[in-house]
């Protein structure tokens, strides 16, 4: 039976589906019995989905884009 520390260490790999089938099975078994690890997993997943679904983060301002094209155009003309 794996421990909470093992789940914590493999959390990212588990989310990215980069663990072996055997380890995946062990983690899932642990998650069924451990509420804290289950919360840790669900809230980390939620964090990543909020970031992935929010296209306004670190938005490229349109004037920055325009100045970039102007500088490049000056270079290749």
């Amino acid at each position: 039976m794996i421990r909470c520390e093992d789940v914590l260490r493999e959390l990212s790999n588990y989310i990215d589906v980069e663990v072996t089938e055997e380890l995946c099975r062990q983690i899932e078994e642990h998650l069924q019995a451990c509420h804290k690890c289950a919360v840790l997993l669900s809230t980390t997943r939620k964090t990543l989905s909020l970031v992935a679904n929010n296209s306004r983060i670190l938005e490229l301002p349109s004037d920055v884009s325009q100045r970039l094209m102007e500088r490049l155009a000056a270079h290749w003309s």
Partner: protein
């Protein structure tokens, strides 16, 4: 020569459908203005990445410009051994780090030397979050909160998080772009994700008064 002419997109054709490699080939043949389409494809991504390293809008804009200028100057050196995006990302990361080394050497040292102390990190906020917490925040509020959370990360963790979870490079591409081993990239990513979660938790957790309010609302609904 006839073969080269056939590769050039006809006027009015949809250049957005032309693969990177073909655009690069045409740029190398002299159609330098087509480089603009590559810029449009990746400017946002490169800006995210340099912002992730520099955390400063003025520096990020200059590095964005320098990165694309350098890519254009060296486009003939692109051999297609990796994807154009990975090659461009590597240029942008190098430019951003050079900028840090030049203007903020202490910060740069912290990127090079900070240990991967993942296992020392213990999540503290282990209460569950509200269901669909984003529905209680306006879109702009949520974007600001997420941006603040990313900016709160130390540079070492911010750059790996932006590459992997904002720009969705693979783990291998992220490690390649940062010039570090795959296990090191994964260790940093885990720490970055846990710190992001920790930052957001107080804003998105299920509070006792929310639980109470939900229960009252539910009871009223069935009365």
């Amino acid at each position: 020569m006839a073969q080269e002419v056939r590769l050039i997109p006809e006027p009015g054709s949809d250049v957005s459908q032309v693969p990177d490699e073909e655009l690069i080939r045409l740029v190398c043949l002299g159609q330098r203005e087509l480089f603009g389409h590559l810029v449009r494809r990746y400017e946002r991504s490169v800006y995210h990445i340099v912002q992730g390293i520099l955390n400063n809008t003025a520096d990020s804009e200059e590095v964005l410009q320098e990165s694309f200028l350098k890519a254009l100057q060296h486009i003939a050196d692109f051999r297609g051994e990796s994807q154009f995006r990975t090659w461009l990302t590597r240029i942008a990361i190098n430019e951003a780090r050079m900028r840090l080394r030049k203007y903020r050497p202490m910060l740069h040292d912290s990127i090079d030397e900070a240990p991967d102390d993942t296992m020392d990190f213990r999540p503290r906020e282990l209460r569950d979050w509200r269901p669909n917490p984003e529905q209680r925040l306006r879109e702009t509020e949520l974007a600001q909160l997420l941006e603040k959370a990313i900016r709160s990360l130390a540079p070492l963790y911010r750059e790996v998080f932006v590459l992997r979870d904002v720009e969705h490079l693979s783990s291998q591409e992220t490690a390649q772009a940062l010039g570090i081993s795959l296990p090191a990239a994964k260790a940093r990513l885990l720490r970055a994700r846990l710190m992001m979660r920790e930052y957001l938790a107080p804003h998105l957790q299920q509070r006792w008064h929310h639980r109470l309010l939900d229960r009252v609302t539910q009871r009223r609904r069935y009365q």
